[in-house]
């Protein structure tokens, strides 16, 4: 019973304390509310921002993933291309043989695709072959 009485006493005190401070608390409440007032465009802009972020959230995972996948594939292809290019054995022109240089240039011009795409061409050939076999 004592604890209940204490509790009530405490609540009574809390109420009386806030009654004592009523003018201050009212002023504080008004000031806090006034501080949070913003023009209409602020709320509109905020809703637009929330809407846009919600639409992103609502998009299926695979579609969100796709947005990242495309640039990653392009990056990977570019890297492959440059790495492939750098790995090609440099022609030996040290001897200053013009004929060797001309042959290399002619070979490069006759190629339909860069050397780096050789694995892709091979893969396409295999797919074609597999299709022909299946027919």
């Amino acid at each position: 019973m004592k604890s209940f009485r204490d509790h009530d006493h405490r609540n009574g005190n809390a109420a009386s304390a806030s009654e004592d401070l009523k003018p201050e608390l009212d002023a504080f409440r008004d000031a806090a509310r006034q501080a949070a007032e913003r023009p209409v465009f602020f709320w509109t802009r905020q809703r637009a921002s929330i809407r846009s972020r919600l639409s992103d959230t609502a998009r299926p995972f695979w579609r969100r993933g796709l947005a990242w996948t495309a640039p990653l594939v392009v990056l990977a292809c570019s890297l492959l291309f440059f790495v492939g290019e750098s790995k090609a054995p440099p022609p030996d022109f040290a001897g200053g043989d013009d004929e060797v240089l001309l042959i290399e240039v002619e070979r490069a011009l006759n190629r339909d695709f860069p050397t780096a795409l050789d694995p892709a061409i091979l893969m396409i050939d295999q797919i074609d072959r597999a299709k022909r076999h299946s027919r």
Binding site: N11, A31, A35, A36, I50, R53
Partner: protein
């Protein structure tokens, strides 16, 4: 569906709602949306429909963050985060409490998480060097003398509230700024009613003592 909550389609013709805005058209829609969310929960709500909820509560949530964080930029960012979190956790709201109480609860948790963030503390300390957002008090209806007295009152309460421990401060602000009931504060802070009463008692006593000693 032109942004009309699906649970309202049978009650309001689509053509009556042009855009989500407050006023004669928006208000009954908001009330109906609130009622439906409270009765049926928010599990099935779509992002477009959720905007009605945002429209109705964004001011209160922003105000709660501004009171708790004392930084308008933080309050704005956290308000957005609060509604995003509410949308992600919408299945957990089944109408057990008022929607506003549920949203304030999310806001309190977010503010608490954010306060723990060390980076934020660093910026807050930096900001406190220049003074945190002060509560403005321009009121044309008051004389300069009255304005000055009021400003002094608010300054005293404000500095006393700043010195309260986190939970007491939150309970105090919800009670005296948001005018929430003790039961609502208990639900929002996930505390027992008795604990809330105790926090409020201590907070009010401390504020009273600090205000009196200040004068």
């Amino acid at each position: 569906m032109n942004g009309i909550p699906h649970f309202l389609v049978n009650q309001y013709p689509v053509a009556t709602v042009q855009s989500k805005q407050e006023g004669s058209i928006g208000e009954p829609m908001i009330k109906q949306a609130e009622q439906a969310a409270t009765e049926q929960g928010m599990g099935g709500i779509e992002p477009d429909d959720f905007e009605w909820i945002v429209l109705n509560h964004q001011k209160q949530i922003f105000r709660v963050f501004l009171s708790l964080m004392r930084d308008a930029g933080e309050a704005e960012a956290l308000t957005q985060e609060c509604f995003l979190r509410a949308y992600r956790k919408r299945h957990t709201y089944r109408g057990d409490s008022r929607l506003s109480t549920w949203l304030v609860r999310i806001a309190i948790n977010l503010a608490s998480d954010h306060r723990r963030n060390r980076r934020w503390l660093f910026w807050r300390r930096l900001a406190s060097a220049d003074g945190v957002e002060a509560l403005p008090l321009p009121d044309d209806r008051l004389s300069p003398e009255q304005t000055s007295i009021r400003q002094e009152m608010v300054r005293k309460i404000d500095s006393a509230v700043e010195r309260l421990p986190e939970r007491q401060r939150t309970a105090f602000l919800l009670k005296f700024v948001e005018e929430m009931t003790q039961e609502e504060i208990a639900a929002a802070m996930n505390l027992k009613l008795g604990t809330v009463k105790s926090h409020l008692f201590r907070a009010t006593e401390t504020v009273k003592r600090l205000c009196r000693s200040d004068s």
